[in-house]
């Protein structure tokens, strides 16, 4: 079996695939400050589910923010890994929008899953999962509830600031004026969708478009982004592990090259 590990800034994801490239196990663990430890933990969890041990692993590919810090056979960039993962599951996809904990990216791929162009935002919290985390804390709601609350909104507010810190002030101002929490949430989803769509439009939206990354688990955000780009995207069942899946596919490919 082959292992892919996506050592992201927020969470570490491990995916194990078999010879036939099926996902047989996976695990997600918060990254914390020690990538090595989180990787070990995630790998252990994933192996336990199969009742297998490290000896059975033929090759490991690491990717993500902490890729240099975990023990792997080779490293690849997330851009390449996400592309491989998406292409394997949805060969019709030509544009991928990935929104993670601390960065967001848009990638264009060709019919073979090869990367043609990409843009990234990894210097500013606005337009990433972090933005929603900060706002959820202010609103006193767990982040998993944001999606459901979004659909209750009838009058979304307009958040005009592009900066997370200034947007915080706006949110506080709206709540103190008595605005409904669902309207603020819908407004926030719209703001983050606008940011991401604007970044992504620089490389163009060729269909099909897929959404991946942890924030794609938020149906409210998905709706806001779909509205922005003008059509419905392909949504994997487990958007957060696509990158690690791609890494595992590359692990198999690299191993095959050696034999």
């Amino acid at each position: 079996m082959y292992v892919g590990v996506d050592a992201g800034a927020s969470a570490t994801k491990v995916v194990i695939i078999d010879e036939k490239e099926n996902i047989i196990s996976h695990a997600i663990v918060p990254s914390g400050i020690n990538f090595k430890a989180s990787f070990e933990e995630a790998l252990k969890k994933a192996l336990e589910r199969l009742g297998l041990s490290r000896k059975d692993i033929l090759y490991i590919v690491s990717t993500g923010y902490g890729r240099e810090l975990v023990e792997a056979s080779t490293m690849f960039s997330e851009i390449t890994c996400i592309s491989r993962g998406v292409h394997k599951l949805f060969p019709s996809v030509r544009t991928i929008i990935d929104v993670g904990g601390q960065d967001s990216k848009a990638i264009r791929i060709n019919e073979n899953g090869r990367v043609l162009d990409f843009v990234m935002n990894d210097k500013c919290a606005a337009g990433t999962g972090r933005f929603l985390e900060v706002m959820a804390t202010i609103l006193g709601k767990p982040i998993e509830e944001l999606g459901a609350l979004h659909f209750k909104s009838l009058n979304p507010v307009k958040i005009s600031s592009t900066c997370t810190v200034f947007a915080e002030s706006e949110v506080i101002s709206y709540i103190s004026k008595g605005c409904k929490i669902e309207d603020v949430i819908a407004g926030l989803h719209s703001a983050i969708a606008e940011r991401i769509s604007s970044m992504s439009s620089r490389i163009g939206f060729e269909r099909e478009v897929a959404f991946t990354g942890g924030v794609a688990k938020n149906p409210g955000f998905v709706e806001a982004l779909s509205k922005r780009i003008g059509f419905n995207p392909i949504l994997p069942k487990e958007p957060q592990i696509i990158c690690a899946f791609g890494a595992a596919l590359l692990a198999k490919k690299q191993f095959m090259k050696k034999v």
Partner: protein
């Protein structure tokens, strides 16, 4: 005193500007429809010369300010950003490029020639190069070298600019099968000089207490000097304006009733946030001097028309040595009885903002004038942290109040 909102006034002349602007653009479209050439110019390009060539100038910088003020700039900004232009670039240029990339079916007709004279910033050159790359329109780039000493307005530096203007004439004649009319240039120079004279006189009257002409007036009323120089309409506008201002001085009528603090504003205005000027006025503070307002008013000598307009291009505010600029600040602090300075650190205008802190320190220390610096963008409404900026203004006014009491 704080919390009391007085009524603040704008001039009748100012109320007419909106219409004047729309008329100007409508005329541009007519001109275009008649098959006559339209020039997209960077401001300070000698409009007087274009009148003599029968070329109609429009200024995308003004277009950007107008789109921002009227709230329809976002589409153009987004179009430019989609093309790959960074948000860290001048918002006027993002607006203009976005407009050019989306069909140019708005108020500003497409250009037949692109003309720029580098005197304010290198963005002029880059923006105009980019427009040419997208539109294929012929491009003329002139250079107005940085004026290091007053002698540069008379030596080989001036000569260089004059020769470039002659090149421009030749280019226009060849390209558009026109004939340059020297008489028309002299006439345009006379009218331009008259308009400048009238406006400078009006600005001088701001030294009166209470000040009759405020920030919202000066921001709007420079429009005819920016693109309408050399026309009778511009002269007529300033004749009326001057009469009105003289009348107010005679009656002791100021922008606000209880004028407490007289302020200097350094920078371009925030076009989408004129209410910020009112915010100051509501606290008893009125803007009495801005380098921006006098930037386009320049006395010309009709007996030396080409040389005069060349001098005007060179002597533009940002293009003269820092010591000469500081001198003007210090003069104005005395002339207009200034209590404090507000400096707008404009993300879009790096040429202006880069030396601002150093200039502010010097003004602050030499004349003991308290100053406030805040950061935002002149036309991009997304780069405006309203609450934070108003907070700073409040604190600044308190400083001014303390000083008045002691």
């Amino acid at each position: 005193m704080s919390g009391e909102k007085g009524r603040s006034r704008i001039l009748q002349a100012t109320k007419k500007i909106g219409e004047l602007i729309l008329e100007y653009y409508a005329k541009a479209s007519d001109f275009k429809a008649q098959g006559k050439p339209i020039a997209w110019i960077t401001v300070f390009t000698p409009v007087e010369l274009l009148r003599a060539l029968d070329i109609y100038p429009v200024a995308p910088e003004h277009f950007g300010a107008m789109c921002s003020a009227r709230n329809f700039i976002m589409d153009y900004l987004e179009e430019a950003e989609r093309k790959g232009y960074s948000q860290n670039l001048c918002s006027y240029s993002r607006c203009g490029l976005g407009y050019a990339l989306s069909g140019m079916s708005g108020l500003m007709p497409p250009p037949d020639i692109l003309i720029t004279f580098r005197n304010s910033c290198d963005v002029y050159v880059k923006w105009w190069q980019s427009l040419q790359a997208h539109l294929g329109t012929p491009l003329f780039v002139g250079e107005a070298p940085y004026v290091l000493t007053p002698e540069d307005l008379d030596n080989y530096v001036l000569d260089y600019v004059v020769k470039q203007l002659m090149d421009l004439i030749k280019l226009a004649e060849d390209k558009f099968k026109l004939k340059f009319d020297e008489e028309k240039l002299v006439e345009a120079v006379k009218l331009s000089d008259k308009a400048s004279e009238l406006w400078l006189e009006a600005l001088k009257l701001r030294s009166n207490k209470p000040c009759p002409l405020g920030g919202r007036d000066s921001a709007s009323d420079i429009f005819p000097l920016v693109v309408m120089q050399g026309t009778k309409e511009a002269v007529h506008f300033y004749e009326e304006l001057l009469e009105e201002v003289k009348g107010k001085v005679g009656r002791g009528e100021g922008v606000i009733e209880k004028e407490q603090y007289r302020l200097l504003f350094d920078g371009i205005w925030l076009w989408y946030a004129f209410d910020l000027i009112k915010y100051f006025e509501d606290k008893g503070a009125v803007f009495v001097y801005e380098p921006y307002s006098e930037a386009w008013a320049y006395r010309l000598d009709p007996s030396k028309p080409l040389e005069s307009i060349a001098k005007k291009v060179l002597a533009m505010g940002l293009n003269i040595d820092i010591d000469l600029r500081i001198e003007r600040f210090l003069e104005s602090i005395k002339e207009f009885y200034i209590d404090g300075a507000v400096l707008f650190s404009n993300r879009s205008c790096k040429s202006w903002s880069a030396p601002q802190l150093v200039t502010a320190e010097i003004i602050g220390s030499k004349y003991d004038v308290p100053y406030l610096i805040f950061e935002a963008d002149m036309a991009d409404p997304r780069q405006y942290a309203e609450a934070q900026i108003k907070n700073r203004i409040d604190a600044f006014i308190e400083v001014l109040r303390e000083r008045k009491c002691t």
